[in-house]
Amino acid sequence: MIDNQTIMLAIIVSSIATYFCRSMGVIFSSRLRIDSWIFDWIKCISIGIIVAVISKIIIFPEGILENTSKISRFLATVSLVIIYYFFGKNVLLSVSLGTAIFTILSFYNI
């Protein structure tokens, strides 16, 4: 069991690390204009990082998802995209069904 002091210290340092990224972003954004090319470039990088994070979670997850099978994650993701486009880009329906498929596959250890 981890002691309380260590947990609190971990929460404090992770709060500082998280806020550091945001506050640096505020400082660096001060002279940026929405219609500038740098704004557009940084948007491409932001979307690139978000997609990289998502694909990493699906293909090489860490933590609790590590114990699930690649096939269940892959099938749920493919179903999600198919359902999304098939049902007129319905976000809630596609994500709910995708999650349900993943849950059922994981439940039966597939």
């Binding site: 992770s14 945001r22 972003g25 979307i47 690139g48 990493k56 090489f60 994500v95 439940f107």
Partner: protein, 232 residues
């Protein structure tokens, strides 16, 4: 007093955005309980260090016996995406009438769900109202996250572990669809495809830096390729 733009933001967050983030936070709360955290510590984690991937990294490293310095740098790298995301979002909500320090406060609400939904909706909001609108949108997602973390902590004993596991996957699937729905031109489509391939590939060689490098390379290739192409 909650004004109209704040209410608009809150209204936009209700439904799928709040549900997606809420379910993931619910599972995170349950996970913290099984890892030996107290309810107050679970609350504090989402209250102060609000950004789920970093929160998971913190808890995972603690369980694995990582040092505090380890945790600091791992969370810093995991949440480094918040840096370009904040650079992008602040100019959208920029308003000369609002004091600079308020942007430092509101930046705490910037996370993937709020960011994606802000980009999906900000053009429908008047420029002068966007700060309050984001306050409503991001603020309600933050409060929802805190509530669901605590709820997950409290309810963890009553829910099957495998169902909890399924709920964790709601959020990446939601992020994926929301990102796909924001791909409105060929440039972003190139970034999306490149990054989806490069992300796991580079992560294999460098688990700490892979995702950031993949995002930077694919974002830059997509951007500069179309910039040069359009200049011709």
């Amino acid at each position: 007093m909650i004004n109209f733009p704040i209410k608009q933001g809150i209204k936009y967050s209700f439904g799928t955005p709040a549900l997606g983030l809420g379910l993931s936070m619910f599972t995170f709360g349950a996970f913290l309980k099984s890892s030996g955290f107290t309810i107050w510590q679970s609350f504090s984690s989402t209250f102060f260090a609000f950004a789920l991937p970093g929160q998971f990294v913190m808890a995972d490293l603690l369980i694995a016996g990582g040092s505090i310095l380890n945790i600091f740098f791992a969370v810093l790298l995991t949440n480094a995406r918040l840096f370009p995301m904040t650079i992008n979002l602040i100019p959208i909500i920029q308003n000369k009438k609002i004091a600079k320090w308020k942007f430092f406060l509101i930046s705490h609400l910037i996370a993937v769900t709020a960011w994606i939904n802000m980009f999906a909706s900000y053009k429908d909001i008047k420029e002068n109202n966007r700060f309050e609108y984001f306050l409503g949108l991001g603020g309600s997602l933050w409060i929802t996250s805190i509530l669901f973390t605590v709820l997950g902590y409290v309810c963890s004993d009553f829910i099957n572990n495998k169902i909890l596991l399924g709920l964790v996957f709601f959020n990446p699937l939601y992020f994926l669809i929301m990102t796909l729905s924001n791909i409105l031109n060929r440039k972003l489509l190139v970034v999306f495809i490149l990054s989806a391939i490069l992300g796991p590939f580079l992560n294999y060689f460098s688990p700490s830096w892979g995702v950031l490098i993949a995002g930077f390379i694919s974002g830059s290739i997509g951007f500069f390729y179309f910039r040069v192409k359009n200049d011709r």
